[in-house]
């Protein structure tokens, strides 16, 4: 039951509410019990309530409130983007985004592909069943 993801300087978090919904940010300082100073390569550094942040497993090595250049360099060194896109959480979000952007024609093609795949699976299953029966 112990906590594994701590609020600390360098912790990467996902914004889950508000204008920056879906953005990956780094905690660069803690303001008080409820708020953190938060920064990201494509955003102006600002405060955010912890309730708006979902902590991730990723942590980078920075000092308190680095300047933008240092922050970006540290994020590159730790390969935050790569780690995030490989993690199952990150992959899920990417898939969700792709599904939401599907065209009507794309959805049709997807349906045909699903039916085809199910057909192939069912054929293999039938073969296996026959082997057991014999």
């Amino acid at each position: 039951m112990p906590f594994k993801r701590y609020v600390e300087i360098g912790r990467v978090a996902l914004v889950n509410y508000g204008k920056d919904y879906g953005r990956l940010v780094v905690i660069v300082d803690v303001i008080d019990q409820n708020r953190a100073l938060v920064d990201s390569p494509d955003m102006v550094r600002g405060q955010m309530n912890f309730k708006r942040l979902s902590l991730t497993d990723i942590k980078i090595d920075i000092k308190r409130v680095p300047n933008k250049k240092t922050l970006i360099a540290a994020m590159e060194a730790a390969d935050v983007k790569g780690k995030w896109e490989k993690s199952s959480w990150g992959r899920k979000l990417i898939v969700q985004k792709r599904r939401a952007a599907l065209n009507d024609f794309d959805r049709f093609k997807l349906m045909l592909a699903k039916i085809k795949k199910a057909g192939v699976v069912r054929q293999e299953l039938a073969k296996l069943k026959k082997e057991i029966a014999v």
Binding site: N103, D104, F105, L112
Partner: protein
């Protein structure tokens, strides 16, 4: 825009202008125009109007004055076409006999209605007019370069006026039997030519023919306001 013209006689307060009548005469140079014209103002002779044709007094005057309606010179503009609908777009028809069908948009007619075709072989929708309001424009586009739709306009789709038939009893029943109108072969040929050119381009895109042949329907979990068409 041209800069605001300088007024020769500004209004100081409402009703009071700066320059007097005689001073304005001098400012406008009317004295110079007069001098140039030998002491008088230049004067055009009025064009002689043709003498009005003598009209006969009407034989009948109505008992009360009939009011003439005001003249209306307003000309209706053709309906503005939604930005998402361009020639070659696949549309989803939302109501009527062909609701749910995915069709190809050809062009907007002068009445504002959209000219659309199935193609007929694929989904049974002929060359038809459809109102923009009952249509969803998808983002799927088809290339219309080989298709010629110049000859189609609203007159093409007008109802055929039939000659008046005799009203004999025998003819009455016979007339009812022959009510079924079949499409003139000319229209069937038009459909074939338009569709032939269109089918060639449709075949180049995989699964597009099957897509046009299937009807659209909302399934569980689909939220129209979140769907990207």
């Amino acid at each position: 825009m041209a800069p605001k013209q300088r007024t020769r006689n500004p209004e100081l307060i409402p009703g009071v202008r700066k320059v007097s009548r005689s001073a304005m005469y001098h400012k406008r140079g009317l004295w110079a125009i007069k001098a140039k014209n030998g002491g008088k103002f230049p004067h055009h002779e009025k064009a002689v109007a043709a003498a009005p044709v003598a009209e006969k007094p009407p034989k009948f005057y109505p008992a009360d004055d009939i009011k003439k309606p005001l003249s209306n010179t307003r000309k209706a503009k053709p309906t503005k076409l939604r930005a998402s609908i361009t020639p070659g777009t696949v549309l989803i028809i939302l109501s009527g006999r062909f609701k749910g069908k995915r069709v190809v948009f050809l062009k907007q007619l002068s009445s504002g209605l959209l000219l659309v075709t199935g193609p007929y072989k694929i989904n049974g929708v002929p060359l038809r007019r459809v109102n923009q309001a009952y249509v969803i424009g998808t983002s799927t586009k088809v290339d219309l370069s080989g298709v010629n739709v110049e000859k189609f306009d609203d007159k093409y789709f007008a109802k055929q006026v039939e000659k008046k038939k005799e009203k004999t009893e025998a003819g009455f029943f016979k007339g009812q039997e022959e009510e079924k109108n079949s499409l003139p072969t000319e229209k069937k040929d038009d459909q074939k030519t338009v569709d032939a050119a269109l089918l060639k381009t449709l075949e180049t895109v995989p699964e597009l023919k099957a897509y046009l042949g299937a009807r659209f329907s909302l399934k569980a979990g689909m939220k129209p306001h979140e769907l990207v068409f």
